[in-house]
Subunit: 134 residues, 2 copies
Amino acid sequence: MNYELLLREHSLKATPQRVGILSLMQKSGHLDVEELFIKIKKQFSTISLATLYKNINAMMEKSLITEIKIPNKKSKYEIAKEPHIHLLCQECNEFIDLKLDVGCLVNEAAKESHYRLKESSIVLSGVCEKCQKK
Amino acid sequence: MNYELLLREHSLKATPQRVGILSLMQKSGHLDVEELFIKIKKQFSTISLATLYKNINAMMEKSLITEIKIPNKKSKYEIAKEPHIHLLCQECNEFIDLKLDVGCLVNEAAKESHYRLKESSIVLSGVCEKCQKK
DNA sequence: TACTTAAAGAGAATAATTATCCTTTAAGCT
DNA sequence: AGCTTAAAGGATAATTATTCTCTTTAAGTA
């Protein structure tokens, strides 16, 4: 994935710090601010926490990344992509994406409420397959 | 609604402050911490913000209330009830409950992922009927 | 009514996030 | 490639959000 290009397409300067943040989001899955900071410091030892926050906010404003708010947990971030839902294992804290068509639910909600719906934030929690076997 | 009873059923002391907080959550809809504090101070002028936080946390631990995490907004709180979803109007900030069967979506997600699912947090955002007409 | 213990209230302490200021750098233009 | 400039980085202060500590008060119970 070409993060420089992706950043420029969103009218953001392609700094090495930003590229590093994006590649961490891609590679390491769903990280919170603290986890991101620990990892990004291994690449840029002098990076400031303020820089991380500023970049997260800048990239969110341009809808390049998305914040996922999770019950009882710190927010995580991911590179924006097609709509999908999230699953959390309450035992091992595994947190995964699931591509699932939410159109049906959204249509139903729109019908009932007369809202014109644009975004969905769906987090389902339970026990993953591995933890069920323990 | 008898909040004293509700509190005692959840092994919590039924203090007037707690009853006040619960009745605000019921009456005034979905409030965030700051809004709750402003309103509760009208009833208990000396109430401390720490008391509010402590009570929110205590009632959440006993599952008497629920925190709703909303993209780009502060968390709101509500008295726990049967599963439902939330709709947010991005224009006027109306925030409402919608009773909608999510069983289908959850079953589908469980089938795909092999998770045993227990909780769902669903917030859909868009434009409410009134704002569409503007 | 008195006892016990959890909760309230006040303020300090900590954590999380944002703002400020100055330096550095990416990107567009010769 | 070098020049210009607006944007971004880094350090730190400031602000905001939340939790902790300690003393006082009051709810639940015998």
